[in-house]
Symmetry: C2
Subunit: 403 residues, 2 copies
């Protein structure tokens, strides 16, 4: 059986008209002889209006009850999509997470999938039915309804592809693939035909919203190819796949920027094993999200640690750092608001010399001062002033991706 798993996001099923459009897209796949399993999110604005109801009742909703509530959104869209398929003479059946036993841990609002039963899905597929599954939701061992957190429906789709041993999972969204840069910054970004799991993970971490990290990790683990494409047209999108199978490997596959960050430096900490752990443990305890981290050790045996946080977390973070300073006998805590992290990501970097130096040169040619640098196997990130974020993206993109 040739099973395709397709996932349609909230915008793709945002109205009865959109649901009908999705139904006829599914029909073309059925007519080609495919067995289709469809994962659907809640209709565009459903979640917002449910949250609005909650807000007029309580400021601290219980997480179990919140999952009970929010999971209704997908249940509405699966039944409507099934009806839309029936209307165009395609046999279809919808299932909630509970019905196909999407077993998760009991971590409400952010549950992890443990297992999925394929019995009902397979028997429905054998009856030539399109199977429509509610994304984003599961049940824990006590049959409480759970939800999978941000990007949850993508994760549902990838998990289904994995258990159904389907190598292909199509993620339909409102953009038609993964681009080399944000089109609001770069006038003609390129759509990538292929990208590796690691690059996509790096881009997600750096702010690209097209796929959520967890679904990419899942796809990588179970070797599922993700085809990210638009439900509004029939163009090919971008395939997220294992690095080894990629046909062309660009040196750089994406340039991103994250603005409104702040940089903190704790200076001259007597260096001994475990100081970084201590610093970031304290920050995590205080629920401060730390992004880029750089540690340097001087020849005097003292270390300095620099890291970035959100502008909005700066005051809270500084308070924590003052305590850390005293505790670790550091000499000073410096900070700077309104900075941006500009990054270039690409698997080709590994085998390509001088990418970093080319990036630094191009920034300096445009008088952009680099305040902090961090590199990984597949990415280079520079901290610069907020004001230069768009310019930096433009010139890096031009240097590596436009010629």
């Amino acid at each position: 059986m040739n099973i395709i798993v397709q996932k349609y996001g909230g915008t793709s099923v945002g109205s009865p008209e959109r649901i009908k459009a999705v139904a006829s897209r599914i029909k073309t796949n059925v007519e080609k002889g495919h067995s289709v399993v469809v994962v659907v999110s809640a209709m565009g604005k459903t979640t917002d209006s449910l949250v609005e109801l909650v807000n007029s009742i309580t400021k601290n909703p219980d997480k179990r009850e919140m999952d009970m509530l929010l999971s209704t959104g997908e249940q509405v869209s699966i039944s409507l999509l099934a009806m839309a398929l029936h209307e165009i003479k395609i046999d279809a059946i919808s299932y909630t997470g509970s019905q196909i036993k999407v077993l998760t841990d009991g971590n409400f609002a952010n549950a992890k999938i443990v297992s999925i039963s394929t019995d009902k899905i397979m028997s429905s597929l054998q009856q030539k039915k399109v199977v429509i599954v509610a994304g984003f939701q599961g049940i824990d061992e006590e049959e409480n309804i759970t939800t999978l957190g941000r990007g949850g429906s993508d994760t549902s789709a990838v998990a289904l592809a994995a258990v159904l041993q389907s190598r292909d999972c199509e993620i339909y969204t409102d953009v038609d693939g993964v681009y080399t840069a944000d089109p609001r910054i770069v006038s003609e970004p390129k759509k990538l035909k292929e990208i590796s799991y690691d690059e996509m993970l790096e881009l997600a971490r750096l702010g690209a919203k097209v796929l959520h990290s967890r679904s990419i990790e899942f796809a990588k683990k179970y070797n599922v190819r993700l085809h990210v494409r638009s439900s509004f047209n029939y163009e090919e999108g971008t395939i997220v796949m294992p690095r080894e199978e990629m046909m062309e490997k660009f040196v750089i596959s994406g340039v991103t920027s994250k603005k409104d960050q702040a940089k903190i430096t704790i200076r001259n900490i007597p260096d001994r094993p475990g100081i970084a752990a201590e610093v970031f443990h304290e920050l995590a305890e205080n629920k401060i999200l730390v992004d880029m981290i750089v540690q340097s050790t001087g020849h005097d045996g003292k270390a300095s640690i620099s890291f970035t946080v959100l502008n909005t977390d700066l005051d809270k973070a500084l308070k924590v750092c003052e305590d850390i300073k005293t505790k670790l006998k550091a000499t000073a805590v410096d900070n700077k608001k309104d900075i941006a992290i500009v990054s270039a990501v690409g698997v080709g970097m590994i085998s390509s010399y001088g990418v970093a130096s080319r990036m630094f040169r191009i920034l300096s040619e445009h008088n952009i001062n680099i305040e902090m640098i961090s590199t990984s196997e597949i990415g280079i990130s520079c901290v610069i002033d907020n004001l230069y974020a768009e310019l930096a993206v433009k010139v890096i993109h031009k240097e590596f991706l436009e010629e």
Copy 2:
């Protein structure tokens, strides 16, 4: 454990404010030491807006998918009510029909309850939690979601009271009890303190909308007292209970009218066993709802059958009757549109002489012509002209209930 089952209808939970009001009403019961199980309907207009979505997708929704869709309405209200209780420091947990295994037959849109598991409910009650259950819904043996049809949440509540061996089930609605007549017709109808299951069933059959027949039958079968009362005030409502336990038995406990009916008479059918069955089988096959039936046999061995249908079904019914006439060798089919059925219901009739004659006299005193009469142990119904329906209700109510 002293368990109270309460059911709140759509109007009672129609807005966040109403849900909060229901929560504080539940709180007072909890503070009195009761264990409370609450059954909730969908918020006022939820079902309508879901149906609207369906209408823009298909004219013939699949029943399974329709139940999948509509059952989300109750799931929304149970979670919101749980949150509202948490907000006022009352521990509470919500359950869908699936979670507490409300097992039904597979008759989508009109399923019958087969069994309910009490395990989760009892253990939550033992943990001093208010248990909130989604009314109107269940699952069949294959775990498909089913709904119970009109008045389904009342049936859920009564069934829960039965399995939890609670003798009392409070049905909260937007009226504060069962009245002796429609207040739009009679200026000062009396609220009944008590009414028997049979009278309530008869009133429901005759058009009273306060409770649906199935929930009353269920309550009668399992000996559950139904307390019908308003969620908008704290007044005592009406208790529906076994006839034997009633303190006062009025001769007449209710006067009702059903307008816009039509009467059909098939004349001079050669009388032999089974002709009535044949006539009404044909009508049922054609999905025509028949209400009142009167059969008379003349001394010539010929029978006439009169019955009422809805005005809107008259043409279809007449077509069927013409076929029956030929088949059964009857001589004629007469009909009359725009008639009303006026009824008086009361368990006291059994032991009270002359109720029927008093009713006929009072109608004749007001020049209201009676075209057809049918009596049962606890009710008398007369067919009269539509125009006199309200007048008839008024004068019968006055004769028996106002002095």
